[in-house]
Amino acid sequence: MANNEDALLKEVTGKEYKYGFTTNIQSDKAPLGLNEDIIRFISAKKSEPEWMLDFRLESYRRWLEMKEPEWAHVKYPKPDFQNIYYYSAPQQKKKLGSLDEVDPELLDTFKKLGISVDEQKRLTGVAIDFVMDSVSVATSFKEKLGELGIIFCSFSEAVQKYPELVRKYMGTVVPKNDNFYAALNSAVFTDGSFAYIPKGVRCPMELSTYFRINEAQTGQFERTLVIADQGSYVSYLEGCTAPMRDENQLHAAVVELIALDDAEIKYSTVQNWYPGNAEGKGGVFNFVTKRGLCETNAKISWTQVETGSAVTWKYPSCILKGDNSIGEFYSVAVTNNHQQADTGTKMIHIGKNTKSTIISKGISAGQSNNSYRGLVKINKSATNARNFSQCDSLLMGDRCGAHTFPYIEVGNSSAKVEHEATTSKIGEDQIFYCLQRGISEEKAISLIVNGYCKDVLNKLPMEFAVEAQKLLDISLEGSVG
């Protein structure tokens, strides 16, 4: 109904709507709610070219026709889409005088994660009274990238500076009508990251969002696009172990990866979303669409260690379009207290001789629910495809749940698909064995959990791996029972 009304309104007001809308463009915030007006406002605020506005509007119109999906094994209060501010200017975070003004619990977490005092200040917005090394590091980092022709900037900047690239690839891996949240994101995304690696270039360092996000808060609807041109290589790090405090509950990001012929993209995520209070109220809903497209001989691997969000719904996937392409998915998903996760991956085999590997480690504690949902699809055209999947669940205590929903669709008889699944519990006798050797219960759980996740942690770039281990320890604190 709303759609018809909007269409009618547009018809009546025609061009006028594009250039002069009712909201004051000078204001920092768009009014509450979502309609075409708001979208035009966002686009105008960012001085976007016409094709980008059209992309947004088309996405919005598709979104209106879509229904919120309900098949996931998670329960949550439905977000009120009209009760969100879809645009607010990047504000300067209120500067605090010192770390004394910061929530002591937050500081405690930082300490446990081994985050330096300087870094703590940066993350909490405490005024820094001397020039941090990281500022100069970021500068020389950008210089080096520039020399090699590597582009790494915000998405908004890319739309302005490299429109042909953005226009060519955006929406090709995750079409605007792919799913409800992708459509919403395509309409109202605010910012994100853009990276382009030129032909044959091996990016000499990990691209980390750390260097891109300065004072800006994490956007709700982030859009990331990484393009690795023929024969190139990039390792991209997303997230940080510091708890991401966010007033916004809903996080619906879209990440598109494109690996052209002979290219490789390694995408690692270590994220610790703020889980809300002890009852889990106010925690983040993490609904992300992440997908990569592999051309001939290309490779994309997703590695993620995620914890904290109240509800997690994501399936980083690979479309193995090119012959001999490889897709990999390594994941540790931890749920504790009242958290819920329905997460997994989709490997779509289209080209010949394609290979995919899935290693998923779920850890449930408290009263949480952790589901793995995976799809291995071998198309008729995918001759000689290979897949190996291993989905393990570790239960801690007897009030949590672990579920597995593997889907295997094979349309070519030359395929080899292997699937293994285990469910285990940290046994009391294992804990006692450790205790008898003088290892505290906390340390015992840490050892056992890290041993369990070893296969995944080994795939992370080293600095991230160390942080990830500490993150696992913290997420499972107090989970023994």
């Binding site: 046994g427 006692f432 064995y433 008898q436 290892i439 505290s440 340390k443 050892l447 056992i448 041993g451």
Partner: protein, 253 residues
């Protein structure tokens, strides 16, 4: 150094230990023998602090401290070691990492510095030789895929690494063939010293041919009913546990 007085313990409401008394001095090796169900493994578990067992009465003093006031890991730091009858597997955790964590937690608890990696690895090589445990096994996950004999040897290897003052061997000989038995016993014998005491829990006299005890106690219905020297074990082997049962009037003479 260990004084057990009137120990009563039960599991799930069932009484197992019914007033056990035992005194152990430094450097002594005490064998505990007895028929099935007499409480031998329960004694080991209670000393180690397994909370599946409830202590209903009695006291245990270890080096002057009240053992029951200490958590299992604290008891370990104080010098108590239990070689489990059925060592558990811990997949994903290598033997090396496990021992490193154990050693360093002990050092931390005792206010000492953590052991340097080089020193640690040298110690591993040295102690592994005691029970002929080769490199491959030390690098594997704790007990994962180990044969019965390898698991028992791993227990003694860990004991050698942790250097306890009270070592409790819970039926270490069960499931071992004669060669494995010899290796395990040899390892234990090499660890005997004036500062270390052993409680060797066993069914069969055979182990005591290799690990010669100073005292042999017979456990029956949760109490020590007979104490003797190493010859008592031979007498038991000859006469069987029925002899004890008769003496205790459990069976008509």
């Amino acid at each position: 150094m260990l004084s057990i007085k009137n120990l009563h313990a039960e599991v799930e409401g069932k009484k197992i230990l019914n007033g056990l008394n035992l005194e152990i001095k430094s450097g002594e090796v005490h064998a505990i023998m007895g028929p099935n169900g007499s409480g031998k493994s329960t004694l080991a578990a209670v000393l180690a602090g397994n909370d599946a067992f409830d202590v209903t009465e009695g006291s245990v003093t270890f080096k002057g401290q009240d053992l029951f006031e200490m958590e299992p890991d604290a008891r370990s730091h104080a010098g108590v070691f239990l070689a489990f009858q059925y060592p558990v597997e811990i997949p994903g955790v290598s033997n090396i990492n496990f021992l490193k964590a154990a050693i360093n937690e002990r050092r931390e608890a005792l206010g000492l510095e953590r052991m340097a990696a080089k020193e640690f690895l040298a110690m591993v090589r040295e102690k592994a030789k005691l029970v002929e445990l080769d490199n491959k096994l030390t690098n594997r996950s704790v007990n994962e895929g180990f044969s019965g004999g390898e698991k028992k040897r791993n227990e003694i290897f860990q004991m050698a690494m942790l250097e306890p003052t009270l070592a409790i061997l819970d039926e270490t000989d069960s499931g071992l063939d004669i060669d494995a038995l010899r290796i395990v016993a040899n390892g234990v014998n090499q660890l005997r010293s004036a500062d270390r005491s052993f409680i060797v829990v066993t069914h069969y006299q055979r182990l005591l041919d290799y690990i010669i005890p100073d005292f042999v106690h017979v456990l029956f219905n949760g109490q020590i009913v007979k104490t003797g020297g190493k010859d008592l074990a031979l007498e038991l082997e000859e006469k069987g546990y029925d002899w004890i049962k008769k003496e205790q009037n459990e069976i008509p003479a």
